[in-house]
Symmetry: C2
Subunit: 404 residues, 2 copies
Amino acid sequence: MTEIIPGKSPENMNTSSKAHARASARLGPSAKIMTFERPLPLDSGRKLERFELAYETYGTLDAARANAVLVCHALTGDQYAANDHPITGKAGWWATMIGPGKPIDTNRFFVICANIIGGCMGSTGPSSLNPETGRVYGLDFPVITIADMVRAQVRLLDRLGIERVFMVAGGSMGGMQVLDFVAKYPDRAFCALPIATTARHSPQNIAFHEVGRQAVMADPDWCGGRYIEAGKVPRKGLAVARMAAHITYLSETALHNKFGRNLQDREDVTFGFDADFQVESYLRYQGYGFVDRFDANSYLYITRAMDYFDLPAEFGGKLANAFLNTRTRFCVVSFTSDWLYPTRESRQIVKALNAVAADVSFVEIETDKGHDAFLLEVPELFATVRGFVNAMAARCGLPGEGEG
Amino acid sequence: MTEIIPGKSPENMNTSSKAHARASARLGPSAKIMTFERPLPLDSGRKLERFELAYETYGTLDAARANAVLVCHALTGDQYAANDHPITGKAGWWATMIGPGKPIDTNRFFVICANIIGGCMGSTGPSSLNPETGRVYGLDFPVITIADMVRAQVRLLDRLGIERVFMVAGGSMGGMQVLDFVAKYPDRAFCALPIATTARHSPQNIAFHEVGRQAVMADPDWCGGRYIEAGKVPRKGLAVARMAAHITYLSETALHNKFGRNLQDREDVTFGFDADFQVESYLRYQGYGFVDRFDANSYLYITRAMDYFDLPAEFGGKLANAFLNTRTRFCVVSFTSDWLYPTRESRQIVKALNAVAADVSFVEIETDKGHDAFLLEVPELFATVRGFVNAMAARCGLPGEGEG
């Protein structure tokens, strides 16, 4: 394991490795990075000769190595699930869910959250150095899949000596990883919690991703993917991509309740192209804030991985085949107002699990918060996760609440 | 009335007027242009000192000038409702609806469709010459509203000597114009047909428009709005805007049925960023095709006008007030799978009309074609329009079917 030493500055560092070190230095004091020298085979047929995973852990691994929870992050998430984010300074994306006494209780569980490969928070991705060329990968980085992300994380579990996790959990793209993990490694999770996700990315979602990618690639500062070496950032393109995507994370009702047609710091419309409406101001803030913490090429690669996700296709066209003989216990969660991964897609997962007589519970949570509900203060979600975790812990022989 | 003379080329034409003539020359042989020398007051408080409306007509105005139908076009539509489009060569956007023997029967009715002000098919808009400066307007063009568009069209009716139209009809933004027309000019339409529209643009729709505008303005070839003089076209930005918008015009079911996850001319995914999926290829085609026939600044101005549309706000916060004492007969139409202007927004119009005891029928048409259904082959829509038109013609004393 290579610990990051913030601020290290070798003398003979070239531009590219400076960029890499800069990326690493962003990770903050809790950062852990695992380096893997054995090649990672990829679904594309290519391989990563060498790769790193940056990850965070919360809680303590028990002596039996039986209390691990693998948390998988979403498209624009990262390993800062519970720790403050080193760039934005904001609380981790699941800080409400993970912590002492929280539904995923770090007094009892050892939580691991790794930045996916293809990401930009320290794991190997398109902004990393390509060892074959000594240059930043850019578009030379191989196109990856959800399965590739999972394969890398399984390597991390191997290295940490964790044969079976107590739970694998995640929302959105994190949920895709949960499904792939359970399908491909049926003995390695006692229970699984896929939230607001799908087993097969829909054409509408592919379409929204394509718009985002086109927005990034339309930005001349993208430089054909070589913007790091050119000392540029395709800020505008990435911001537009984020703005378009962000709309899909909310429900129409949420937009109504949150903003309506309210004006931003003005009494009347200006008859111009400023952000007259609060919703415009909010989108611009979301778009341009995102650019500071995310890499444009990572956005291309990760959206592509999601587009390619089609678990039934990998199992002869039948999702149930993905879960044949599974012994994992499932809790599938969806949200009524999520139009990106609507409840019917969760129901397809549940139906497939029922078809193989798997142990599955399904909760559709009534909320107007849209897809983003998995990240937000939704009491019924916390209650659902807490209930599932505690019931599973009891069945697994792990400590119950307050016993950690 | 100034008839366009295709190919005219005055000797002392400067760059800007060349651009203007080029725009005019695009209009084709059926083009009519009306020039208005009396200033048009605008909601912004500014005015257009002089403006032109390019329009097409279909059928013949009767002696009593009582058989006119004003058809209002949508955001990316134009006056080529029934005639072939001079640039794309494609059939008019409502060629299925308007024509001899069609639901809006040109054997009996005189159909007028004008390019809105702010548009780019010959009516005065941001790509027109600013008479004050002699330069193309660009962002010096005043921000316009739906009411301004309607005000200009009422001037056209005045000039054509049409005191009252038999019907005012339109879908989407065309429907907004219908509502505004009836509210502001209560004696000038015998009946009204607003389709797939709303009385107040929603925050979600404002958000999507804002993304489109940001995409256009992010393109360096937009040149701060002065791209015509710079000899450039913000193709990529406008294409991205169109792609994002286009997704919203379709339903998820339509995308499923039309494309699913089918691949485009390939057996397997390419592990790259080409358009692997048919839906991606389709979007790119829609995006880049649009650029050839539409002006980027017009896109900014027209989306802004839609965002500003809030008819209740203009009538003391109560939509019903917009229709007090109306004598116009309404047929309000919505589509089950339209998530851009969902049925509940049409119901709000109907409720407001009911509140003032207006003559209104309401049809929600079951279709999976999404918002675009108003432009597509939806037999129930044709039957609805035909039935409404014929019933209204009978009440108005106009010829019935086959009597034209």
